[in-house]
Amino acid sequence: MSALLDSFAQQYAALPEPLRAAGGLAESRSKALAAALRDDLPAARAERWRYFPLRPMAQRVFRAATGASVDAALLSDIPAPRLVFVNGWCDRSLSDLSGLAEGVRVESLGRLLHQAHPRDVAWLGRIFAEADETFARLNAALAVEGAVIQLEENVQQTTPVHLVSIGASEAGDAAWHLRHLIELRHGASLSVIEHQLAADAHAHFDNTLCHVHLKPGAVLRHVRQQNASEHASLLYRTDAVLAAGAEYRRVDLELGAAVSRHECNASLQGEAASMISGGAMLADGKRLLDTRLQLEHIALDTRCDLRWRGLATERAKLSFFGGIHIRQGADGTDAQLSNRNLLLADTAEVNTQPVLVIDADEVKAAHGATVGQLDAQALFYLQSRGIPKPDARALLMQAFLIEVLDVLDDADLTASLAPVLSAIKSY
């Protein structure tokens, strides 16, 4: 067994018995761990893990995170309602859940497990059947914290809910496994902004799994702003299920971490469900970003529009996989995928792979992937107006990435996020 899995097995053994058994999950947790240990880490040649540095990761050892205290000033720009996690533990003193509309429930998973109504946490018992779902299985075995957000029918939460996960140094390298659930009933709407931040430099491991359930007509805008410590390793998996007419607008801004893998699986199960997603991936230094999207079009007239932009420089590596599967019977599907990348240094690397599989007859589908340089004409145009070259380069890079925010179709949200991308320096 790898050192990594061994350290997770020890974490499991150290989980207090009442916590492990809370909500009637003892059996599913132990089975998930057993499956992870049995199948081990994905093989080096496993297609879905091709670009992830499994081998160096296998040598790492992480302790269970014990939590840390962080300066509240770190949260000065993040308004309520907000739920804050520090090293994977919910911090009530930093959280502020004022401003929630009636019919909106935002709770920490830890508290739900403590209350232990099996019905409330049954979704945690999901089984991950594929042999390469090692980290999802580890999450299933070990996650005891996370955010549970539920909206009743037709409830409109007008101010965004912020989920904040802060990494802070503690003795040794720590690991935590967060499990989120965002569930919107019929016709409900919500914006969620996740922030993955660093209080200071550390090399922790964050393995987060997020379930998104959108009932008919629900609308979710979901932003993840990943600004983790430059030595941290992150895994973030989203599993989304969309019912008829549901709309999921999602933006991921990958700006930090040493290694960040994002896997997003969306299942468009109801007629006319739509997923519109965009991402800005900034790979600099020695960062490795690995993004994998997998869309399943199952019902009639479903739509996806995926607009992902990457920027790779220095010694960084960027990989993008965009998979769209239009299943038999999903006629009327409209699927668009575009992945554009700027490769700004010979020492950097970009891998992009759009894959369309179409098993239906009447569909509209298009995909495109490009890897290029900054537009020399645009650069000259800006310079000719008096903007110094480094500033002109930075402006073009920011503009290139900022366009992904359009997928949110919300001027206020876009305006609040634009400064994050405008802060990108010139390379």
Partner: protein, 277 residues
């Protein structure tokens, strides 16, 4: 016969004003420029004083746009001989942004679309970068907006233009107007208009010409590059130069443009061919 003010080899155009009273702003001497394997400019000379508007006309491929690009500092051109002085400075060793700060402005033949960069933000960044380079105070958002509104009014442009991304999705006419608008805000000393009339219908052409005329002043010089005489009906030049095969082969008054229009450029080529041979 066409009136010949200067011979093709005499270099600069003699100016009627006393050179001591009107110092030269732009002085191009014997400029040779190569792009790739091709010699494009082959000994171009020209002088331009503040307050003057010179038109450069010529057949396709004569080197008109190259001249504009070289003056603005675009990469990809090799100056193999000659000098360009702008208010006494060697223009050719300056970066494009330094030229802009010194007061050179090029209105592009094909303005570049820059999605994701807001027009207002772009212009304010540009103006403040120039002001900073000149050691002037930068304008805050309110001061800038005031300036911009005033310029919009002069050019009768819609404010909506400001909120869009630079040239992105603009019509041909809107792009050219946006160039003239940028010129109005940046207030250059030397404005080079590279085929600003190309692709414009008559209304857009008039609007662009009005914008240019509104900005003519005793301190500002213009170099208007055009293929057609049409633009010069609305923007009346002080001097018209004919550029062919990389050199200025004729210079004259506004009437030269009219004669070119009726005779075409064929005669220029005829005149040139013995020399080339």
């Amino acid at each position: 016969m066409l009136p010949i003010i200067s011979s093709p080899h005499s270099g600069s155009v003699p100016h009627p004003c006393d050179p001591l009273k009107t110092p030269t702003m732009l002085k191009i001497e014997n400029l040779h420029v190569r792009a790739g394997e091709r010699d494009i400019l082959k000994g171009l000379s020209l002088t331009l004083e503040p307050g003057k508007l010179h038109a450069i006309m010529g057949p396709n491929g004569a080197g008109k746009s190259t001249l504009g690009h070289v003056l603005a500092g675009r990469e990809g051109y090799e100056v193999t001989a000659g000098t360009v002085e702008f208010n006494g400075q060697n223009l050719l060793t300056m970066e494009p942004e330094e030229r802009a700060a010194a007061g050179v402005f090029l209105a592009f033949q094909y303005p570049v679309e820059i999605p994701g960069v807001n027009n207002t933000y772009f212009l304010r960044t540009a103006l403040n970068a120039q002001r900073k380079a000149r050691g002037e105070e930068e304008l805050d958002a309110i001061q800038f907006l005031k300036l911009v509104r005033q310029k919009l009014q002069v050019l009768s442009l819609k404010e909506e233009l400001l909120h869009r991304a630079v040239n992105s999705g603009f019509s041909g006419g809107e792009k050219k107007r946006n160039e003239i608008f940028q010129m109005a805000v940046l207030e250059p000393k030397l404005a080079i208009l590279d085929e600003t009339d190309s692709g414009l219908d008559i209304d857009a052409l008039k609007a662009v010409a009005d914008g240019v005329n509104a900005q003519r002043s005793p301190e500002r010089a213009f170099l208007v590059i055009t293929h057609y005489q049409r633009l010069l009906d609305y923007i009346v030049p002080d001097v018209v130069h004919v550029l062919a095969d990389g050199r200025i082969v004729e210079s004259g008054g506004p009437e030269l443009a009219l004669q070119l229009e009726s005779h075409g450029y064929a005669w220029v080529k005829e005149r040139l061919s013995p020399e080339i041979a």
